[in-house]
Symmetry: C2
Subunit: 369 residues, 2 copies
């Protein structure tokens, strides 16, 4: 598999909130080869804490990409046939311009002077990248969670550029509960004195607040069942309760580890901006209804949800499917049985692979034929 | 309704963790009158953040008790017939000895030198109170959530003193997910520098950490549905997004309010100790199995759960019921339909009232007959 990693700089981008960012950089990776007709490109869209490194092994970190089990030769997104592209989102902290980037006007990091962004802004920047690559139409787009939201936004904002789209474990709008979990994470960060109104780049980052935010996240990504299977009430390195506030249970140890590990790879201000973008996302906004929003969509859809995902429950995917069908959009839907909760799109990819493989093959055939 | 409020002091109590607390005080309230035979006493057991003020209007705060819709003349716990007692739990911060209490050995608050306690320790202190009141047998005990855990522990630890018990929205053991949510709350408090290893009683309390912990709690107490009904995506005092990090959504405003309001009435160290007691709770501990634990139980049981309660899901109540039935214990079980999530036992009490009323009447008849 040919893997390339690039950063491209554009002069500026106009944002939904009215601001303009200039310049703006996008970090992206590609897997496989674009064919001569440029008809085999698939845009992979990462979730909240993901990055452009979706597949292969990073020469820097030695780590596989976040969707390496889905992207590669013979995999769901088969790089022997398709050309996959994945970019870090606007507002991120892994190569694309975000709050940790230097504001050329001041020579200092934007921090909280970074403009509030939306999912549509992220998609707008991705469209600039796709244009830059000379690709007029994407054979498909796919991502889970926030990646799925972007896949939906693409089909509505740039219908002429989207042959098909595969939103997974996603929603057309954040519910009150989803907003609430994000708000808790934001408040945990803001409550940390080290956050310093966002100006921590020359000092200590708000590590404790960010870790707590991440701990909440990890609970919501797993199901009650998968936590029981993975941890149960097993104690960590002891045979009986400690009767103190050290770690007693395996699950406590896991959460503490995931919280502190996250701090080393994620910027707290990006946490604030990206969660805000997710909360603002509502495909029906400005369209009257979700069905009306899909009026413009011409892509084929494959919508996937997971039975035990309580953070992005199946009813949210079904709402998308109903709205699409009401506008006679070509949509296939599958709720896959899985115990892994929201994490299923990342870790339980057997049936997901079969669905995606078949959907892409038939889509490619239509385009080629 | 006759309401009395008292504090009683005992010389000492021995705890599961091996420590002894001396002295120990218990704050309690009573509603109605104990009959001559002392056969109409019902112990009401509060949940995590509750207190002894279960019914009537507090002369201090002017606020109704936390279960005022269930306790009073003509209500489920009918004070025209029954004598209800509610005490603040051991480790609490509302009159009963807890980490904020003065350690007589030092003249300073215990803070983190307070011994780690268990649900059984809480119940042991309640038994001392009941003995002090000269009540040999309780007609019933009831509470939701952590109160339900105590109701279960009573039936196993003091079978001779329990005629019937009504655990509501409870569990015989905390699951990994329940432990995880408690651990996040604890870490949010501990992460707050104002926590100062628990020694904040002469300074600022860890208000921000405690607020974040409470925000997480409130999400888990409601259902996805009830949050949608109560808040949806409604904006707070504005017609469009602010594109900043002030409050945009009603649900954000609600959580921030509940978080900061909690700080004024709850001690952060009590949060640590009481959640730890809940996490340690496992009725099968030392008994081999849950069914074996119920071997000793002689009480009649009424077990209630709520359909939309995802924090203490019905399967946990059903596990209790199956274990009781395997030991031929007299048990009635009902899963009540409600959209209110875990909060249902506090706010959606129509059918709960009918169930409790009938169960208490038939229990009282048996005792009297």
């Amino acid at each position: 598999m040919i893997v390339e990693a690039h950063v491209v700089r554009f002069d500026s981008i106009s944002l939904d909130g009215g601001a303009t960012l200039a310049p703006v950089e996008v970090a992206y990776e590609t897997y496989g080869s674009l064919n001569a007709q440029k008809s085999n490109a698939i845009l992979i869209l990462h979730a909240f804490s993901g990055d452009a490194h979706a597949a292969g092994v990073s020469p820097e970190t030695g780590k596989p990409g976040w969707w390496d089990n889905m992207i590669g030769p013979g995999k769901a997104f088969d790089t022997n046939k398709y050309f996959a592209i994945c970019s870090n989102v606007l507002g991120g902290c892994r190569g694309t311009t975000g709050p940790a980037s230097i504001n050329p006007a001041t020579g200092c990091p934007y921090a909280m002077s970074f403009p509030v962004i939306t999912i549509r802004d992220m998609v707008r920047l991705q469209k600039m990248l796709i244009d830059h690559l000379g690709i007029a139409r994407l054979l498909s787009l796919s991502g889970g969670s926030m990646g799925g939201m972007q896949a939906l936004e693409w089909a509505v904002s740039y219908p002429e550029a989207v042959v098909s789209t595969i939103p997974i474990a996603a929603t057309a709008r954040h519910s009150a509960q989803q907003i609430a979990f994000n708000e808790v994470g934001r408040q945990a960060i803001i409550a940390d004195p080290d956050w310093s109104e966002g100006n921590y780049y020359t000092g200590k980052p708000p590590a404790r607040g960010l870790a707590v935010a991440r701990m909440v996240g990890h609970i919501t990504y797993m199901s009650d069942d998968s936590m029981r299977e993975k941890f149960g009430r097993r104690l960590r390195g002891k045979n009986s309760f400690g009767y103190d506030f050290d770690v007693d249970f395996e699950v406590e140890s896991y959460l503490r580890y995931r919280g502190s590990e996250f701090v080393s790879r994620f910027d707290a201000n990006s946490y604030l901006y990206i969660t805000k973008a997710m909360d603002y996302f509502d495909l029906s906004n400005g369209n009257g209804s979700l069905a009306a929003a899909f009026e413009r969509a011409t892509a084929r859809f494959l919508v996937i949800s997971f039975s035990s995902d309580w953070l992005y429950p199946s009813y949210q995917s079904q709402e998308i499917v109903r709205a699409l069908r009401s506008r006679n959009v070509d949509v296939a839907y599958c709720e896959l049985p899985s115990n892994y909760g929201h994490d299923a799109f990342l870790v339980d990819v057997g049936e997901q692979t079969e669905l995606v493989r078949g959907f892409l093959a038939s889509t490619y055939e239509k385009v080629a034929g």
